[in-house]
């Protein structure tokens, strides 16, 4: 009999990365060095791009999110890292 042994362990339950009272949506995530970086669209001050760092143990460093851009970016952001800084790209406006 062929047994597929352990594939995946969930080390923690679902947890909030940003649960500010206004709308947050369209997240994307990348891993750089020793941290996860999550980017999303946020409606707390009209439409904006926010981001947060998450440790590999699930600790959210930026619990309210860090503001990155204000305009009308409603479709989230995609980001890449150049070994020094990030570039996040997104649609702004209609």
């Amino acid at each position: 009999m062929e047994i597929l042994k352990l594939c995946l362990i969930f080390v923690c339950s679902d947890f909030p990365i940003c649960d500010h009272e206004d709308f947050q949506y369209n997240p994307s995530v990348i891993f750089v060095d020793s941290l996860y970086y999550v980017f999303w669209s946020d409606f707390r001050y009209s439409a904006s791009i926010y981001a947060a760092r998450v440790k590999p143990d699930g600790t959210v460093i930026d619990t309210s999110g860090q503001f990155l851009y204000h305009g009308y970016p409603i479709s989230g952001a995609r980001a890449a890292y150049d070994n020094q800084n990030f570039l996040a790209v997104f649609r702004d406006g209609c």
């Binding site: 594939c7 995946l8 150049d82």
Partner: protein
């Protein structure tokens, strides 16, 4: 638009990558070690849309005004891109204008298309395929959503070589009767993890670098009923983070779940279902005589440590043969 930020998420500056009267949407980005490559879909509203690309330096200087790399279909949407160490492969879908489907084309680091565009998945109908792409060790995995004959969304994939050949057949990643959509790919050291939204939950499927499914579809988000969607996935050194939007208390929030990939190993074991011996009921620790090669398995076939047994049914193997069934009641 683009915004540069430090690893501490301090803003350096924001700048337009493409600013004119046209609609530039659905951008994606990758880095080749020298410059970023940004791809997007651009057109009028309503009107035709074409997929374009531009290099952006690490200082935020846009080097190209938008290089066309599509095939000229009326509406080319949702380009995604990844880098294989030599050049980029970008993938998009044709929404309006035959041929419908998912298409790819290579772009070199000078932002010049290389070779012709090629079909990854042709379709008879116009549909929002919403593809994603990731480069593994030696090839790309492309995934997309697709309307089934039963009119529900399924998730499929295709391995594409670094020279643009389709390797193997289309991979049926999530094809049950539920709606499965918005697939995204995370790339681990040995496997891909494809995640998608499925009727308000987030699901996943391990896929080997050669395109074989490993195990079955599994739930990543918990079983509580919240409206979830837009998943994404990234691998760290020892685990992966899956994120999604989740509707709570009158608004959407960002949620996630951390997972650890343990060793995936297939092995031949003797089936415990053929055990016909007498069971031993124990109340307390399981004591095994010394001097023999013992292993203890639970009813799923998973090996367990004899000193860490909880109440349940176990099978004791001696020198490669199941010899004893044990029922531990306390």
């Amino acid at each position: 638009m683009g915004v540069r930020a430090t690893p501490e998420l301090e803003i350096l500056h924001s700048f337009p990558i493409k600013a004119d009267s046209l609609v530039a949407q659905d951008p994606d980005i990758a880095f080749d070690g020298g410059n970023f490559m940004v791809v997007w879909s651009e057109g009028g509203f309503p009107g035709e849309h074409k997929v374009k690309a531009a290099r952006v330096t690490t200082e935020g200087v846009v080097l190209d005004s938008g290089t066309l790399f599509g095939m000229g279909a009326y509406m080319e949407y949702k380009p995604v891109i990844d880098f294989d160490g030599d050049r980029y492969l970008t993938v998009w879908y044709n929404y309006n204008g035959v041929p419908y489907g998912v298409f790819g084309r290579f772009i070199n680091i000078q932002c010049e298309p290389e070779g012709r565009e090629f079909a990854i998945r042709l379709s008879d109908i116009s549909y929002a395929f919403e593809p994603d792409i990731a480069f593994g060790n030696e090839s790309y995995l492309v995934v997309w959503q697709e309307l089934s004959l039963q009119y529900d969304d399924n998730v499929y994939g295709q391995i594409v070589s670094m020279t643009g050949e389709l390797i193997g057949d289309v991979i049926p990643i999530a094809t049950t009767s539920e709606y499965q959509s918005y697939p995204r790919i995370g790339t681990g050291t040995l496997h891909y993890l494809v995640v998608w939204e499925q009727e308000s939950k987030i699901y996943g499927q391990w896929v080997s670098m050669s395109g074989e499914l490993i195990g079955k579809n599994f739930a990543i988000s918990d079983s509580c009923y919240y409206n979830r969607g837009n998943p994404d996935i990234a691998f760290g050194n020892n685990n992966c983070l899956c994120t999604w939007k989740e509707y709570h208390t009158d608004n959407n929030d960002i949620y996630g779940n951390l997972d650890i990939l343990m060793q995936i190993k297939e092995e031949q074991v003797k089936p415990v279902k053929n055990y016909h011996g007498v069971s031993t009921i124990i109340n307390g620790p399981l004591f095994l005589p010394k001097g023999k090669n013992f292993r203890v398995f639970d009813i799923t076939g998973r090996r367990v440590e004899v000193n860490h047994l909880s109440p349940g049914i176990y099978f004791v193997e001696i020198d490669g043969t199941i010899k004893q069934k044990v029922v531990k009641i306390r």
